[in-house]
């Protein structure tokens, strides 16, 4: 990592040197002694001169003319031990440079893209360099952060291939749902609109904005965790910032070519489990059909199973029950069917193996004055649900030109084209095939459904089948495409040696088109006559900055630097949609072919103007003081409150530089830091005015309008997050052991939120500007190198642990709770005095001694009022990464820990209500009749007590329950009564997130075939839950339906999770 980081600095130094005419040309390659990889940018100087030298190219090669009389070359590279080599008769010198044991001048990227020495940083930030990013073929770069950064929790939504990712830094501080960090690419913020809304009742996940960034273009990622680090990004950075630096060309001769190719497959990992003993029906015996005589006049009557039956509480599939076969084509003579179970794994076979293929080629080159890099990438992927496909093409061009000594230009343009086809529907809608499978009758032959669809082209309708899945994935189509341009152009002007100015314009524009179609005959009243929806979403973000930077050494002890800047951000969102129904000609999916067309349009606009400054004083290069301040004007706030200011102060003290107490081989480096910061946050637009909403529909030609249900806040003020943190960065044993500790304590006040109020007020919500949420916690990042040998074997461990304690201190006066989200039988709420994200629902009613109370019907009953069933915020999260390498071979595995949170399982609810869950066999009998045909008694007696009631209805005592009930009373009643306690599970897990094996060929082997590097990597991801508590349901604890903070403890008929296995080939020329 540090090689790459230092490369840039080295390059700058190197170009200052000039070569002069010499007599002898020496060539060679410089490699790293550690892993044999070529070292680009190594300084080579002819000993005894100050200006005769060169640098190595991207492949570590150099060529240098040495003047007569000089006898040695000095090789130096930051982070390695310098080496002097005596010239011999040979004109070829290959050098292997050893890394310096301890390296104290790491350079990191901080806010506004300013590169700074890590020892000057007074707040916590953590970086992933190209080493960590290499060979990890996640499509979405935010997944790179998984388990690798202390205090950062990364989880995917449960929507399969191409879905959104949730990144949460240091807990949730904002109640309004958006707790995602700001992504800044090469200094320009990009939009990251994700699947933040539904996923509970329907909808599809179209991925998120950061997922568009081509992983191959990423040089490094830096996470600025708290407000302390991100004050300069202002409002949008209040949840933390992820800085992404993309690759640029290098200033060297010739061109470099890098080719990356990756194939990976996704295989089902966890999948819902099913009982396989009971058929569709009720009360363990009843089918409620009518009788049909077969053959007519024979006196043999068989029951029909009617299509409205959806629950699997019917008779045992013991072969003793024969019904009229429902699986026949219309008009066929009735036949019979013996109720028998289908193969255990029948549903699993519906799913396919997902495949992702990514290819990327990058060409880079440069001269002493300019660099350029062009990267072209292509991704093709198919999901595990048939016909679900994604395609992505990216083109990125980055150039940097030093126009004159004092002026340089830097510009990038990144074009992204994304396409998605047949993304799966989510949540409780019938179009979600996973939902259909969760409740599918176990007697239903899936091959018949397939055959019926293929023969008739229709979905068909059968008891126990909510929607023919083959029809759904083949006929209900959706397509989306997106064209996006992210770019910037900047000019850097060096006015004096100590004063420079940068002007930059950045844009992020995209247009996204989404279409869905339902053929004539699709289920659902809106869809039955054919329907298409067509949405066009236009997103524009425009950023402009001017920054003036000064840097001056005042004396040998003091140096001073500072910047003043001004910026403007303009955001527009323009959404247009058409919902077209009742098609005139079947099969023509165009708006012009519809009889009922409903348009919808939404436009929003926001502008933020800012000025800011940052200043730093350094004393003796070991004591640093930073001060920042920013003033924003946001159009989304109230008229008198557009403007808001917030400052920050941070200090860093490298005490090992100031005074050495311990020898370097014990304590190699020590730094303490302390900081305090505020960040203001504005709001979504349109919360300050209200009026009436009109409808595009009408009633018999009469227009319709309704009063808006929100009470706006005319004087809306900004939110304010205030945080302080203290930390230490300690390295021991010649840097073999590193420890970074941070304690932070922050609070967000003046939350801007539309809170729910009693509907009897006439309004459903009021915008308030109040409340306080606290987040405090401890973060530990450590790394160690237990083994490091001279012969190339090394073992590195890096890990992190973060404990965050959140507390909703207050909401607005008179507001008792704030609902973050709802699903069918529970809500996710913020309640004063509680941690963020309580799961609220009904508990079992229990006797004073804690036993569950059984009602007179024989089923459990719930408490009268709702209470807290759990909390969605984990107690702690962590990651542990191990890398063992030997020469070019490297093996790596990563563990991901999330502990102490609850999850509310919608799959458990559905399968309990419908009797398909594997657990619903408990309390049911395997035969309902004995051999003589006599009815057998029910066997399900719920453990618990019944109330003893006196004549006046008072409970006088309890006695054990002895009543035997049928399966639906035993099980489904818990769902029907919304006893949420039953469905809230421990969401803790430990996952083997990633295992990677890679081999880099030695450059000398590759030279013959013209390559400079070849690396093969095998990677497995999301492999194994070492620990989980989902009760064997086959549902992942990481199954949030969307990216909103409140839903991180929800699971709603989620897509099955997959394991990924991939092979990656990286070739450089």
């Amino acid at each position: 990592m540090r090689k790459r980081l230092l490369l840039i600095l080295t390059l700058f130094l190197a170009i200052l040197g000039n070569a002069v005419a010499q007599d002898r040309t020496i060539t060679g390659t410089v490699t790293s002694a550690e892993d044999g990889s070529p070292l680009p940018g190594v300084n080579i100087l002819v000993s005894g001169t100050t200006n005769v030298g060169t640098i190595t190219d991207a492949n570590g090669r150099f060529s240098l003319k040495v003047p007569e009389g000089f006898k040695a070359l000095e090789f130096s590279y930051i982070g390695t031990k310098s080496q002097a080599i005596e010239l011999t008769s040979s004109n070829v010198i290959d050098v292997s440079l050893e890394m310096e044991a301890e390296m104290l001048s790491e350079v990191v990227v901080t806010a506004l893209g300013i590169k700074r020495d890590i020892k000057a940083i007074g707040f916590a930030q953590q970086e992933l360099g190209s080493d960590e990013l290499a060979a990890n073929r996640e499509l979405n770069i935010s997944n790179f952060l998984t388990a690798k950064i202390a205090g950062v929790q990364v989880s995917k939504t449960a929507s399969g291939l191409g879905g959104s990712t949730v990144v949460n830094i240091r807990g949730n501080s904002s109640l309004t749902g958006n707790n995602q960090p700001l992504y800044v690419v090469d200094g320009v913020p990009i939009t990251n609109e994700s699947h933040s809304g539904d996923g509970v009742w329907g909808d599809r996940d179209y991925g998120d904005g950061v997922g568009d960034i081509n992983p191959e273009d990423v040089e490094s990622m830096t996470v600025l965790k708290g407000p302390n680090a991100s004050a300069l990004y202002g409002a949008r950075g209040s949840n933390g910032v992820v800085l992404i630096t993309t690759k640029s060309g290098t200033r060297k001769k010739g061109i470099g070519v890098e080719i990356n190719s990756n194939v990976s497959i996704d295989k089902l990992n966890l999948f819902p489990t099913f009982q396989n003993y009971y058929a569709t029906g009720y009360e363990e015996t009843n089918i409620y059909g009518s009788l049909i005589e077969i053959p007519t006049g024979s006196g043999n009557f068989y029951e029909t199973m009617d299509t409205w039956h959806g629950d699997s509480w019917g008779p045992p599939m013991d072969g003793n029950r024969t019904i009229i076969d429902p699986f026949v084509y219309p008009g066929t003579e009735p036949g019979t069917l013996v109720l028998l179970p289908q193969p255990e794994n029948n549903v699993k076979e519906f799913y396919e193996v997902g495949v992702t293929n990514t290819n990327n080629i990058a060409i880079s080159g440069g001269t002493e004055k300019s660099t350029a890099r062009l990267s072209i990438g292509n991704t093709w992927a198919k999901g595990i649900i048939p016909n679900h496909r994604l395609e992505k093409q990216t083109i990125s061009l980055r150039t940097n030109t030093q126009v004159t000594d004092f002026l340089s230009f830097d510009a990038k343009i990144n074009y992204i084209h994304d396409e998605g086809h047949n993304r799966p529907a989510l949540g409780t809608v019938r179009d979600n095939v996973t939902r259909g499978f969760a409740t599918l009758g176990r007697y239903v032959p899936l091959p018949w459904l397939k055959e019926y669809y293929e023969t008739t082209g229709q979905p068909g309708n059968w008891p126990g089948v909510s929607y023919n899945p083959y029809y759904v994935v083949n006929e209900l189509k959706n397509n989306d495409s997106q064209d996006r341009i992210i770019g910037f152009a900047s000019a850097n002007l060096k006015i004096t040696p100590w004063l420079s100015m940068m002007g930059r314009v950045g844009t992020d524009f995209y247009t996204e088109k989404r279409e869905e179609i339902w053929p004539v005959g699709a289920f659902g009243g809106d869809n039955a006559n054919g329907r298409l929806t067509s949405n066009l979403n236009e997103v524009k973000d425009f950023n402009a900055d001017v920054i003036l930077t000064a840097s001056k050494e005042l004396s040998s002890h003091f140096s001073l630097s500072g910047s003043v800047g001004s910026s403007i951000l303009r955001q527009t969102r323009n959404y247009n949609s058409l919902d077209a129904r009742n098609l005139k000609a079947e099969g023509v999916y165009h708006v012009s072919n519809a009889q009922d067309i409903r348009p919808n349009a939404f436009f929003s606009e926001k502008e933020m103007q800012s000025v800011y400054f940052t200043g730093q004083v350094a004393y003796n290069n070991y004591l640093f003081l930073d001060v920042t301040g920013r003033n924003d004007w946001s159009s989304a706030l109230g008229r008198d409150n557009y403007s808001f200011f917030y400052p920050s102060v941070s200090t860093s003290f490298v005490f090992t530089d100031a005074f050495r107490v311990f020898p370097e081989d014990i304590l190699s480096f020590g730094k303490v830091r302390l900081s305090w910061a505020q960040v203001g946050n504005d709001s979504d637009p349109y919360l300050t005015r209200t009026g009436y909403n009109s409808f595009t529909t009408s009633f018999n030609g009469q227009g319709l309008a309704s009063v808006s249900s929100m009470i706006p806040l005319f004087n809306l003020k900004n939110e304010l997050t205030e945080s302080w943190e203290i930390g230490a960065d300690l390295r021991f044993l010649n840097n073999r052991l590193g420890l970074d500790l941070t304690y932070y304590n922050g609070k967000t006040t003046n939350q801007i939120l539309p809170v729910d109020i009693s509907i009897a007020s006439g309004y459903s919500s009021v915008v308030i500007n109040a409340g306080e949420i606290q987040n405090k916690g401890l973060e530990v990042a450590f790394r160690a190198t237990p083994i490091k040998t001279n012969w190339g074997l090394s073992w590195e461990i890096s890990g992190n642990y973060a404990r965050n304690h959140s507390n909703v201190v207050t909401l607005a006066p008179g507001i008792e709770t704030y609902t973050l989200g709802n699903d069918a039988y529970a809500s996710y709420e913020a309640r004063p005095g509680h941690p963020f994200g309580d799961i609220i629902g009904y508990k079992y009613k229990r006797s004073p001694s804690g036993e569950k109370i059984v009602g007179s019907g024989g089923g459990y009953v719930r408490e009268d009022v709702q209470s807290v069933l759990g909390n969605i915020t984990p107690d702690w999260i962590g990651g542990l990464n191990n890398t063992i390498s030997y020469k070019g071979l490297s093996f790596n595995f990563l563990l991901d820990f999330v502990q102490g949170k609850e999850i509310n399982s919608g799959t458990k609810y559905q399968q309990t209500a419908k009797g398909t869950g594997v657990w619903t066999t408990e309390g049911r009998r395997l035969q309902d009749k004995d051999q003589a045909g006599n009815q057998l008694p029910l066997v399900g007696i719920l453990p618990g007590v019944v109330e003893i009631v006196d004549g006046e209805g008072n409970v006088t005592g309890y006695e054990p329950n002895t009543k035997a009930v049928d399966g639906q009373t035993y099980w489904a009643n818990r769902a029907w009564s919304d006893i949420g306690e039953e469905f809230v599970l421990d969401g803790s897990y430990i996952m083997l997130r990633e295992v990677m094996l890679s081999y880099s060929f030695k450059p000398e082997l590759l030279g013959k075939v013209g390559m400079t590097g070849l690396t093969l990597t095998l990677v497995g991801r999301n492999l194994w839950y070492i620990e989980e508590h989902m009760e064997g349901m086959g549902v992942s604890p990481e199954s949030a339906p969307n990216t909103s903070a409140g839903f991180s403890g929800s699971e709603v008929l989620s897509m099955p999770t997959t394991r990924t296995f991939g092979l990656n080939v990286k070739i450089t020329f």
Binding site: E303, V546, S635, F699
Partner: protein
Amino acid sequence: MKKYRTLKIVSLLFMFVLGMNACTEKFEEMNTDPSLITPELINVNLIMTYVQSEMLISGSDYGNGTTGSYCGMTVRADDRPFQEGDAPGSFYGAYGTYINNLAEIIYLTRDDADLVNKKAIARIMKVWAFANLTDTYGDVPYFEACLPKEEAVFAPKYDPQEDIYKDLLKELKEAAAELDASKESYGGADLIYGGDVSKWKKLANSLRLRYALRVRFADAALAQSNMSDLTEADLITSRAEDAHLNNSTDYPDHRNPRYNRIIDYGPDESVAIGKTLLDILINNETPLDPRIGVYADTASASFPGTPGYEDVEPFGYRGQPLLGLVPVENKYPYQAKTISEISQFWRVPVVDLSIIRSSEVYFALAEARLFNLISFGDANTFYQKGIDAAILWAQDFYNLVKPQAPALLALVHDDWSEAEINTYIDNGAIAEDAITAFKAAPVYALTGTDEEKFEQIINQKLVSFYPDEFQGWCEYRRTGYPRILIGPDEDDLKGVIPRRMPWPTGEDNLNSTSIEEAKSRFGGKDNRLVKFWWDANPDAPHVHPGTVEWRTTPWI
């Protein structure tokens, strides 16, 4: 020199960008949603049409709800009528869709004398909405509910039903007096009367009659004082004056939800006709009510020669008694095919929905006269006019649905021939000779004691209400009629028909102080068996003398 020029450029650039920060003038316009209609631009007609379509069409559950069980009209196969728990839908709809918008119209028109009709019509509608609300829950927020934004009370207090009712009756009286035929009205935006002010006046009076009668057992004086100023001419007395609205086929949401259900989920066999309503229509076969074919199907199952079922007679018209949670070891005596479903006529896309009809007005007058709350007319005449109006309405209804029936029946019974479809449709026709025969039967005349006459009136009122199950439930609670046959039940309520609905549990979180205060007036309870203020008839409910039959062999 060069450096100075550079500095100058830099400074200019810098000032330019900083200069952008000076302009926040556009911010207010920028932060106004362009889709929003501002108060200066709103036309209240749009709001009135919205409220009417929502209240009559989208807000109606068309007799598919649990409430149908509470007055003997219908029984839903998959229902648990005796389960405790809230029914928040009516609460949210009333405040969040109807009353808030009506209050807004009243607020917007408050100071404009020319718009007095628009205001008065909104007041009448608002009374109807609030009455439905308090008749469901009892005490509800009233005086602090739905105030203008600036005065909104986030957690409004719950008012006693008695206070609410007194104000509702006063509102109706004032609104009727305010209506002025010489001033502007809603015109076509009024879906019910096309803006006809005189009809609105009759509606206000007829509602006042309904709600005055409702409080009869709680406050006889209040009831009487609100009827004594009315004459037959002040009231809705003809089909043309009925306050009703038909579905529209312009959008799926405006169609009959029973029809939408078929479109969404296929043929529906889950709504049986209640034994109570069907027994009234069967009329002990002396003779059958001529409307029976419009209301009910015959049971579809028959068991010819099936072993173990030889004793089963053809079912014909067989209503479903009200069964709660029955132990499974007891076999159901009834199941889908062995009972009468509601007629398919109720499942066509366009049916007729009412606020109040002349039949109800006449039944109300009959009762009022019978118990001397009014001093004009004759109870028996009113009763017969009520039946006449109800039959007339049923004929109208049949004529409305008849042209829609073939398509619907083809959808539901894809195996039926055209002849079978036509036979079905013809069975629903209300023949004139059947009407004549019915009018000759004893049921057409009030006989017996006052209490027996009272039962006759309410039974016929129930028939006329269909499918307005909510008014049926109100009458059941108020009068104790009709007598509903209830089977054994092991559910929460043990077979006792609810008297009200508990407040939405959401209010516990958002308005807990008010809820606690309201609960204290109900003896600290908030359940379905609490009786609120007007539910004060000491004789109610009247028990059905029959028993539910049981089978030892299950239906298969």
